[in-house]
């Protein structure tokens, strides 16, 4: 079978144009010499799904998600607005979610839009789980071969005591981040079709890495990404800051194990560790930049305060804290449809703290933790004009 050369393909990828290339020359020498399960080769950074039919199923899911997110969602939004107006309610006003649900939840158009989205999500997870668990010996052997390989390193902490909020099946991913040995595998491909193909080459993470603001003195020796999941942002950060020591931590052992394997396979030196963002074990004043991406909306309010406190402790004076999530750049929409979608995501897509996060005074929590807060940091998320950033007073 013809294998594709990742180096050749990657260096021709337009998405990589804005990052430093000298640290990213394709598969590392170590990776080339160890077990690497990629029977259908790679496209740039992406290891192709290992069977044509699985790839095609996920191609369908990608297209189906676009259809559901587009036409079906517009029909559902129109229906919600019409139903509320028929009851004399203004769907653009800040209605309580109970009122919105009372008048809309049983409508067949709205319900079927939700059903379709959910069934596609379930299909995505099930097909991935079947593949990786159905061939677990090969995939476990591949990870074992990568565990002690470099570049970069892996630290797993099997005895780690996890807070309950980390143990849910976020996004209804079977086993969540902590209970499935192939959580990282599934997360990568599941989010690839969630992003409808727009992040297959880590394009979104590269964009985020490139907007990250620097400390005023310009010194960037150590960077931490909290809640690193598959390590895509951490990899992009190492590429932007090739001389920095980059760490990615996550509560999920399977997540960092996969992240390490993927980064090592790509030849990027990142240190991954299974640790809690609120109990990171790093020394005081250690990092020049700490960041995270779409993490906080999956953390309980108590957890957010604890993570911010730990971030303040481990950031060095003059360092930058740059959290990126739904509302770090723009406030939550108050329309009835937006509130319905947030509620639905919370209830049916395994996002238990989504609504609490939307109501959470995040900037106030950063101030309480001791950060100097600038609400007009560089824009990060698509469509936002700014993003909140914190600095630790020098």
């Amino acid at each position: 079978m013809t294998m594709l050369n990742r180096r050749t393909l990657f260096t021709s990828t337009a998405a990589a144009a804005t990052i430093a290339q000298d640290t990213f020359l394709g598969r590392s020498a170590q990776a080339a010499n160890r077990l690497d399960v990629e029977p259908r080769g790679t496209i740039g950074r992406l290891e192709r799904l290992p069977r044509l039919d699985l790839e095609s199923q996920h191609d369908f899911i990608t297209g189906f998600r676009q259809f559901v997110n587009g036409e079906m969602t517009r029909a559902a939004e129109a229906r919600i607005n019409a139903l509320l107006k028929a009851k004399g309610l203004d769907p653009t006003s800040d209605l309580p979610i109970d009122t919105i649900l009372e008048h809309t939840a049983n409508d067949p158009v709205i319900a079927n839009s939700a059903r379709s989205w959910l069934s596609a999500q379930q299909l995505s997870w099930r097909t991935l789980r079947n593949e990786f668990h159905g061939n677990k010996d090969a995939y476990l052997s591949e990870m074992e071969a990568a565990d002690k390989s470099g570049p970069g390193s892996l630290e797993l902490n099997p005895g780690i005591e996890l807070p309950d909020y980390t143990r849910h099946e976020i996004h209804i991913q079977p086993g969540g981040y902590v209970g499935d040995p192939f959580a990282g595998h599934s997360y990568l491909y599941g989010t690839n079709n969630f992003y409808t193909g727009r992040n297959n080459q880590d394009e979104l993470h590269i964009t985020l890495a490139n907007v990250l603001p620097l400390p005023a003195d310009g010194k960037v020796i150590r960077i931490l990404e909290q809640g690193t999941s598959c390590g895509q942002l951490a990899v992009a950060l190492k590429q932007r800051f090739p001389n920095a020591e980059v760490w990615g931590i996550d509560c999920g052992g399977p997540m960092v194990r996969f992240a390490h394997m993927r980064a090592a396979d790509l030849g990027v030196e990142v240190h991954f560790a299974q640790r809690l963002a609120e109990d990171s074990k790093f020394p005081d004043n250690h990092f020049d930049i700490i960041t995270n991406n779409i993490m906080f909306h999956e953390v309980s309010p108590e957890g957010i305060h604890a993570v911010l406190k730990e971030s303040m402790r481990t950031l060095r004076p003059g360092g930058v804290y740059f959290p990126i999530d739904f509302f770090t750049g723009s406030p939550p929409s108050k329309t009835a449809f937006s509130k319905f979608r947030s509620w639905w995501d919370s209830r049916w897509n395994g996002e238990p703290w989504r609504l609490e996060y939307a109501a959470f005074d995040f900037n106030g929590a950063m101030l309480k933790a001791g950060f100097d807060v600038n609400e007009n940091g560089p824009a990060a998320r698509p469509g936002s004009k700014s993003n909140v950033m914190g600095t630790k007073r020098a």
């Binding site: 029909a75 379709s116 399977p254």
Partner: protein, 117 residues
Amino acid sequence: MATSKSDLKGYTTDFIKSDTDKAVFLGNPLMDDMMTALINLGAETWANRRRVKIIEMLFEKNGKISREMVEAYMPTPEQEKQMQVERDEFIRTAFGHFARGATDIVALSTLNPTSKK
């Protein structure tokens, strides 16, 4: 600190299970199951159509095919783009009615507006 650990037993842990597999949105669990089955069949149908398309492209290019060639085939960007157009047409053909919104329903018993009352 940055050392690997070889003992990996127990690095997965208990999790809190979602109840989403019990969700019934359409008033009758069989209706939900039917919708799920349709979507799953859509994925299976598209996988078969894509396989046939790849077989045709390989045959046209090489005059011969093997299972390995089909599995490993990498469409060109142009082919990929064309297949995505076909995929989206297939999805609209199969599922487009579900997006009609049903805000202006005409019931079965409605008289033809051109007929005499």
